[in-house]
Symmetry: C2
Subunit: 118 residues, 2 copies
């Protein structure tokens, strides 16, 4: 399995570490309409949408569109992807990455985007 | 050790479950100036401050004051407490509770309030 890079490395203009201890690392993601990330990796993470936005998430030729609504909290299963802001509002998201063992398993290679976006 | 109650039970008007799976439970907390909770328990949790607020956190005769700033992400070690909004703005906080084993240990009985509030 190819493992892609930490988003704080690939897209350091958009991803910032806002808290870290031995249990979790918390990232803040911010972008503007038209912005696109490079391919990067996420472990299992809680996602908190702090703005409403429209994004396209892509990997291996597959794409999903996310209509994010401010206030939604959901789950991002471990995955590699590219994200692109295809709406007309800024994206603002917190990702709480869990460090417990086994949290980076990608049993389901088909998973793309967050679990629940309503 | 006496174990106090789940805040979604003691203060169901202020604490709502906004997401839950086998790894985490995420609570949203909202209150207004003058509001006070009853005594309740938190496991180790990530706290995300979604508003700026001033609160007093109390337990066993000890009190700490928190000057919360919107955007701060910090850590709340497992603890029992009563919270009171002593400022003039609403409190709005997300708490990401971790379910991993050992996450509810209260080795340090002296801990009160979040770890880092700057």
């Amino acid at each position: 399995m190819e493992m892609h890079q930490d988003p704080t490395v690939t897209d350091s203009d958009k991803y910032k570490v806002v808290f870290e201890n031995e249990k979790v690392r918390v990232l803040e993601y911010k972008d503007k309409p038209g912005d696109k990330t490079t391919l990067h990796h996420h472990p299992n993470s809680v996602m908190c949408f702090l703005s409403s936005f429209k994004r396209q998430i892509a990997t291996n030729g597959k794409t999903v569109t996310i209509d994010g609504k401010e206030g939604v909290v959901t789950w991002l299963k471990a995955q590699d992807h590219i994200g692109e802001n295809i709406g007309d509002t800024d994206t603002h998201v917190l990702l709480v990455e869990l460090k417990e063992s086994g949290n980076d398993d990608q049993q389901d290679q088909g998973v793309l985007g967050p679990e629940k976006i309503v």
